[in-house]
């Protein structure tokens, strides 16, 4: 699945692997930065805040803001500090009653 993304990839001929994000299959660059690859695939909202439920996405891309938190195989992680691997199952914190973010 490829959604329209406001980001353009300079190199498109790259090996991709299948991952699941919020129940949808995505083809992301193997070994790429998870936050960047999700943005490239058109995913802008990564989670909902525990306070108001507002949607959030990457803000600083350097591991400082914690806005790009996702749940990778059940563990809350910073997407911008994670690498894409085949078969990753990624959930959006806040959407399934998660309150620990």
């Amino acid at each position: 699945m490829k959604t329209a993304s406001p980001f353009r990839e300079l190199e498109t001929d790259v090996p991709r692997v299948r991952v699941r994000f919020a129940g949808k299959d995505l083809m992301l660059r193997d070994g790429g930065n998870l936050a960047a690859e999700l943005l490239a695939a058109g995913v802008l909202s990564f989670r909902q805040t525990p306070v108001s439920g507002a949607e959030r996405g990457p803000f600083c891309m350097m591991g400082a803001c914690f806005d790009c938190l996702v749940e990778i195989d059940g563990v809350t992680r910073q997407a911008c500090m994670s690498e894409v691997t085949a078969g990753m199952d990624i959930g959006m914190p806040g959407t399934e009653g998660d309150v620990d973010a």
Binding site: F7, L10, R29, A36, R56, F59, F66, D67, C80, M81
Partner: protein, 467 residues
């Protein structure tokens, strides 16, 4: 436990330069960094960037390759993908790597954790699609990703750099919304002599502006009342410039009004800091070598005060020379001889700084945001909330936590600390120094129980460090 003569935190320009200088002096160096490859944020992934990206990024970026390559030295052990979560006396650090906790100690510690984007709280800055300008740079450096239909808002040379890079990549920004005013430019002219001594930097800036103009990117200056709107994600940015209200449709908003020292690591071990009025941030107290008031702890690079990548590198080298002398590897005479050219270079490097700081000051409305603007992104606490706490008698940033949890979310105050201090200082008519800052405690970054349970001794399963 891993041991070395020198522990360096952060593999950006300061950390990389310090590691090599120390290794050359005969010290064993353990360099710990969060990223998978050396470079820090300014030289992120510089060692393996494809040629097309290198062209877009320019030579100021690719010159970082030399520093990254210099880490290949028998006395340097570079641990990548390493998240530090505790620093203690010793000096000793605890960290997580490959899903397991571990620790290391050394005779000296050099903190080279660099800078963060100065928080720019404006209405709508928490919407998906709003990022820091630095984030856009990282997307380009590491992932070859360009923001299409982006508006850049704020002030400072980094905005021009990224705008020029976007033009080179064929995806020019829709507009530059610049907050600096004509009065700022007039004030900066008083520092023209310094700017002329640091002419290289100024010439670089003019070159970038020429590229932006050639690409036909509209520039709005003296912008105020900036607000970003959108239902779920950023859709428009509105602002006042030239006496008119503007409303631009866009997909991405990139914010930037300077960078500030990342003080988390130093504060966690009680290194004293003081307020720098010109740069509007806290800086650690240190001597000319970067030594803090804790005699075995040094700080170099933007984390010690904003000076840019070249100054950071020079500071890293100076700190390493002093540490080598401290540990008896060189004589004070040799140290001084090696330091002299570095210090001269540093003076030239910093000469244009007062001009830049005055010409592109922080955006006032974002230093003291309007009441309904969120300042703590994690706990969604507004500027009005902070003012209300002050009115109720709240004395300082640490007490605000009891009132409404600002600074207690996952980012641990990294993106609200300065704003909360500023708001409280303004409300109580006290200085930022008197108002103080959040107390930073370990863990500096989250660590899971599983990672703690998997605590390993890295020395046993990897190469022995050279001592």
């Amino acid at each position: 436990m891993l041991e070395a003569d020198l522990l360096v935190l952060g593999a950006g320009p300061a950390g990389m330069a310090a590691a090599r200088t120390a290794a050359d002096a005969g010290l064993s160096v353990l360099l710990l960094d969060e990223q998978a490859r050396p470079g820090g944020q300014i030289y992120r992934d510089v060692g393996n960037v494809p040629e097309d990206r290198a062209q877009i990024l320019g030579s100021d970026y690719t010159k970082g390759r030399v520093l990254a390559e210099a880490l290949d030295h028998p006395m340097i052990r570079h641990l990548t993908g390493t998240t530090i979560w505790q620093i203690e006396a010793g000096p000793r650090v605890s960290f997580t790597r490959d899903g397991a906790a571990s620790s290391a100690k050394a005779k000296r510690l050099l903190i080279a954790t660099g800078a963060l984007e100065r928080p720019m709280p404006v209405p709508g800055w928490t919407l998906p699609g709003v990022m820091t300008a630095g984030a856009a740079q990282i997307l380009l450096k590491q992932s070859g990703l360009m923001c299409e239909r982006a508006v850049l808002a704020g002030s400072g040379p980094l905005l021009y750099l990224i705008a020029a890079q976007m033009c080179r990549a064929g995806t020019p920004p829709l507009a530059l919304v610049e907050t600096q005013t004509f009065a700022d430019r007039q004030a900066a002219l008083r520092h023209l002599t310094g700017a002329l001594r640091g002419w290289r930097l100024v010439a670089k800036g003019l070159g970038l502006l020429a590229e932006i103009r050639k690409a036909g990117v509209p520039r709005y200056t003296g912008a105020s009342a900036i607000a970003i709107e959108g239902k779920v994600q950023a859709e428009t940015i509105s602002f006042t410039s030239g006496g008119k209200r503007h409303n631009l449709e866009c997909a991405t908003v990139l914010l930037h009004h300077g960078v500030v020292p990342n003080t988390q690591a130093a504060r966690s071990i009680d290194v004293p800091h003081h307020w720098n009025e010109v740069q509007q941030c806290f800086v650690p107290e240190k001597d000319g070598w970067g030594r803090t008031q804790l005699p075995d702890v040094f700080i170099a690079g933007d984390g010690a005060g904003i000076g840019g990548a070249t100054a950071a590198q020079l500071q890293g080298r100076l700190a390493a020379l002093e540490i080598a002398c401290d540990l008896g590897k060189t004589t004070p005479a040799d140290r001084d001889r090696n330091a002299a050219p570095l210090k001269r270079q540093m003076e030239t490097e910093l000469a244009a700084r007062p001009f830049i700081d005055k010409a592109y000051p922080a955006f006032r409305e974002a230093l003291l945001p309007a009441d309904d603007t969120i300042v703590c992104r994690c706990e969604e606490v507004t500027a009005g909330d902070i003012r209300r706490y002050a009115g109720l008698g709240c004395l300082g940033p640490n007490q605000t936590k009891a009132f409404g949890r600002p600074g207690m979310g996952p980012c641990q105050g990294r993106y609200c600390g300065l704003t909360v201090t500023n708001l409280l200082a303004d409300e109580s008519r006290r200085s930022q120094d008197d108002t103080g800052y959040y107390r930073i405690r370990p863990p500096l970054k989250p660590v899971t129980l599983g990672e703690l349970a998997a605590m390993t001794d890295l020395e046993t399963d990897e190469q022995e460090p050279v001592t």
